[in-house]
Symmetry: D2
Subunit: 326 residues, 4 copies
Amino acid sequence: MKTIQCVGILTSGGDAPGMNAAIRAITRAAVYKGLKVKGIYRGYKGLVTGEIKEFKSEDVSNIIQMGGTILKTARCKEFKTEEGRKQAYENIQKEGIDALIVIGGDGSLSGARIFAQEYNLPCIGLPGTIDNDLFGTDITIGYDTALNTILDAVDKIRDTASSHERLFFVEVMGRDAGFLALNGAIAAGAEAAIIPEFSTKDDQLEALISRGFRKSKTSSIVLVAESELTGGAMHLAERVKNEYPQYDVRVTILGHLQRGGSPSANDRILASRLGVAAIDALMEGYHNVMIGIENDEVVYVPFRKAIKNDKPIKEELVQVLAELSI
Amino acid sequence: MKTIQCVGILTSGGDAPGMNAAIRAITRAAVYKGLKVKGIYRGYKGLVTGEIKEFKSEDVSNIIQMGGTILKTARCKEFKTEEGRKQAYENIQKEGIDALIVIGGDGSLSGARIFAQEYNLPCIGLPGTIDNDLFGTDITIGYDTALNTILDAVDKIRDTASSHERLFFVEVMGRDAGFLALNGAIAAGAEAAIIPEFSTKDDQLEALISRGFRKSKTSSIVLVAESELTGGAMHLAERVKNEYPQYDVRVTILGHLQRGGSPSANDRILASRLGVAAIDALMEGYHNVMIGIENDEVVYVPFRKAIKNDKPIKEELVQVLAELSI
Amino acid sequence: MKTIQCVGILTSGGDAPGMNAAIRAITRAAVYKGLKVKGIYRGYKGLVTGEIKEFKSEDVSNIIQMGGTILKTARCKEFKTEEGRKQAYENIQKEGIDALIVIGGDGSLSGARIFAQEYNLPCIGLPGTIDNDLFGTDITIGYDTALNTILDAVDKIRDTASSHERLFFVEVMGRDAGFLALNGAIAAGAEAAIIPEFSTKDDQLEALISRGFRKSKTSSIVLVAESELTGGAMHLAERVKNEYPQYDVRVTILGHLQRGGSPSANDRILASRLGVAAIDALMEGYHNVMIGIENDEVVYVPFRKAIKNDKPIKEELVQVLAELSI
Amino acid sequence: MKTIQCVGILTSGGDAPGMNAAIRAITRAAVYKGLKVKGIYRGYKGLVTGEIKEFKSEDVSNIIQMGGTILKTARCKEFKTEEGRKQAYENIQKEGIDALIVIGGDGSLSGARIFAQEYNLPCIGLPGTIDNDLFGTDITIGYDTALNTILDAVDKIRDTASSHERLFFVEVMGRDAGFLALNGAIAAGAEAAIIPEFSTKDDQLEALISRGFRKSKTSSIVLVAESELTGGAMHLAERVKNEYPQYDVRVTILGHLQRGGSPSANDRILASRLGVAAIDALMEGYHNVMIGIENDEVVYVPFRKAIKNDKPIKEELVQVLAELSI
């Protein structure tokens, strides 16, 4: 394989706080090691349309603290077609990019995997998603910030009048993974989490109601992982209101605010470590791996493993929530 | 009228951040001037049921920074009946309370007014509501904190991917008053506010759509004052999705998190000033007035004026939003 | 006077949160009214060196929430000389700037005043300083955010172990004005403020010590306005340690962190209103005035009045602190 | 050993955010498993003086989000004497406490170790210190919150005017351990960290100066771990000012504000897990161990190992900071 002299970076999928810290780390580590860096805008879309710009060290100054991603993200149907990827590869060649670093979630890494196979281009993935649902890394970029954002919201809700039989549903992200809802509930001292890993949401609600939510006299807060569509918590609230009119039910839907905000210390340090490691990996000849953290050490995870496997919820944490919400 | 020697305090209606700062200020100012203080729990309910406790200076230590109210609030149907108020007055006499200070919104001050008239009890009101909809005071306790909470949420939403034709609806409180939505929109740099002071919400939405939300290429954020029921923004989103499928619409419903949180500097200073002034007013023989701030000076507003009049939205601010969201 | 078609903007002196919101408002209001806008970098320095760039509406997108100033500030010795101002005026002419809007404090407005007189250039000032020490406006851009930053710091300090006779000095900004220290102390529930408006700092310390700081058993927190040099609180701490060894004294010096941070709702709304009003004022033919807010209405204050007069501390607030820190 | 039926809890040493979450978790897990709980106030002092109170599940409601510790901490000379410990043990017997759980740092666990040996009392330690300097656990309760507090401060400082050759020193805690300074510097995007693990602070400063702090044109931020006495950063600033007058040097000393604040999600989850595990450990017959987290699993670490060993700084992180501050 030829020596890598120029690295392209893109962010793809839903934003996650810390993506900018990762872009900064990749850029600076690359410059530090004598490589050129090219920023690709709007995810795979910019690869297809050629929206690409050289990045110097100063282009990533003062971005480590910013939410979102200066490279933007977008959906890109074209990249899902062979024709689109062909065009993307032509831009890769035109720009002299020798390797591609993709920051994103499951779908983004799948795209990188296919592209790498078709064109024999060294690709590295960085796990960037608030849902924390990538296998092979203990934690993903953005998860810690989103968790703290949820916490901040629930803390505020708990401040309000603690009357009998008031019930708050707080809908959080995590369509397919309950990490945010479960850990958010533990951290916020909430009464319960309704998450996709267990039985249906209606069944989980039924179980909560049948145990009377909570014995104590104050109000109860339940975190609900979002369903296919935003607003599922509204449906649960309707059910409770109809069947148990004695409950005063209130709903908060956090929505996209969970994707924003200045990244936490953890997310910035994680992103910085993974960004530096991505360049090291490329220089050592690794490719088609996701860079992760396991047991506080950098690890390389083949794309297929990171994408195919589900990351399980820790039983210990389910028990912690159960014991502490008595 | 007999000399006042013991003051009762209660908080009523929806919580507002800064209520604790007001409780602290009233208690300490009263103690400073040699009065006794009694805390009444759960609003008028505690008056009816006799849930009343003496407060010393140290009982209000370390609460100035807390959201919610250590006195709790609750709805109280009994106090709306003559029988209930009779029972309340008996507790007032039993506890030796000579004057009552009520912290709350419109409804809470109406209750105080009736009670004061029926039993000739000196009552003082403090404007405590995040909605800022009390006449006779430039600002109410809790409003500034709620505004900053909304701002923080919208800032996070703006961080996320700025793609074409993405539309965010953020539902905020203010059923009858658009202060939070309008000022929140200005402060957050949002595109528009849909508020109750103007035409129907559907009409305001239509107007926004017809002007294309915004000419620029980034996403648009619209703050929506809540309707009778939480979730009205969800209805607006459905309408846009059905009629204008090209828009990618997302909804956040802030709900009760706007009532919580550590109070801002402004709310704490306001609550401290009003609390001190409430005791001064009582000592000078004033009663049945709300203590407000106008032009940065403490003012006394008769209950009937504070309750009956609507506080208007400043035209200047509507214009500021219009000019700055181009 | 000729019609104004192009407006120059600069920020000068110490940064204040909300300066970006003001830059955005001026730019957008100007564009809305058909004017051209030029951003001048590094305060008066950029005027002298010609570091000037045209600003479009999109150049100020997504900056309302940022601390600091995208135009930067710097000290500029050259502008204090006639030669420097001559060069500045040549750049003004070269760029076709018809009027200048300066955002800054006392010193910055003095510069604008002299420049306006010498070259008959319409100048408008916006009060931008965290110290709140400009006469003619109830509040300056940046003050509310700095106050909340101080509050946040003191809240954290109060969380820590409340043991007998522990004494915390927190040094805050405000060399010549005690607004931040006094109002910060009220808002934070601190025991006292040592401010420049009263006797010497050593005398104020002596008075505090002689009254035993506070009767209660918990620790005491004293806010100290900074002296000529940062670190004056360290000197007070040394004095207490030497003379009263029973006190366990700790010092926090907030320093420049008070100048940063995302602006509060109040600061953003204030900056937005003042920015819009600045353009209105120019179009109506006003010049050599500072735009302020008094009693929640926009006012025009002649430069000489804003600069020459001192803004007094409200006696009521000194009393509020005294009563509530018992 | 007799069956454990009643558990005593105390917090000792400097406060750490998350201590309340640990108290809550221990109390609730104990109640859940049928044990009695007694809260001991002011650390070992309350053990000696008998300031002890039974804790029910509701006594720990609504404290998970609070900084500080509801049990207070204090220094206690008496407990360092045999006589003092004898009195402490008498109180233990009088209260019917069968096991003691101590939340604190190095010194606090040393106290527990001696006490456990002398009186054959089952003791469990929980690592509670913002310094993160306990061996045998990847992370200590309070560290993550303190790191984010530092970050927040440095972010604000970076907002301010970025002029040439301005140098900010930010003094952070960590007398004997550079975790906060080093990781804070990485997370904040600072230029350097001066920490106790390396050469003397003066030497580290010399090295920074000789490499010109940073090549780029913006200001430099250096995090400095505190020395024996608060204010060491002031000394470094003086040195730079004297020897290199071209630098405009500013100092921030964070001090005790790093110990306060609402705990982060991480700290609350950690404290909750460790608290539940502490009760499990006692029920399984473990004693004289610190409960830690290693590789995201709960571990039991004998006191002597936790106390005696130093936790090393990761070389990888030193390199990350070096590469990214170019």
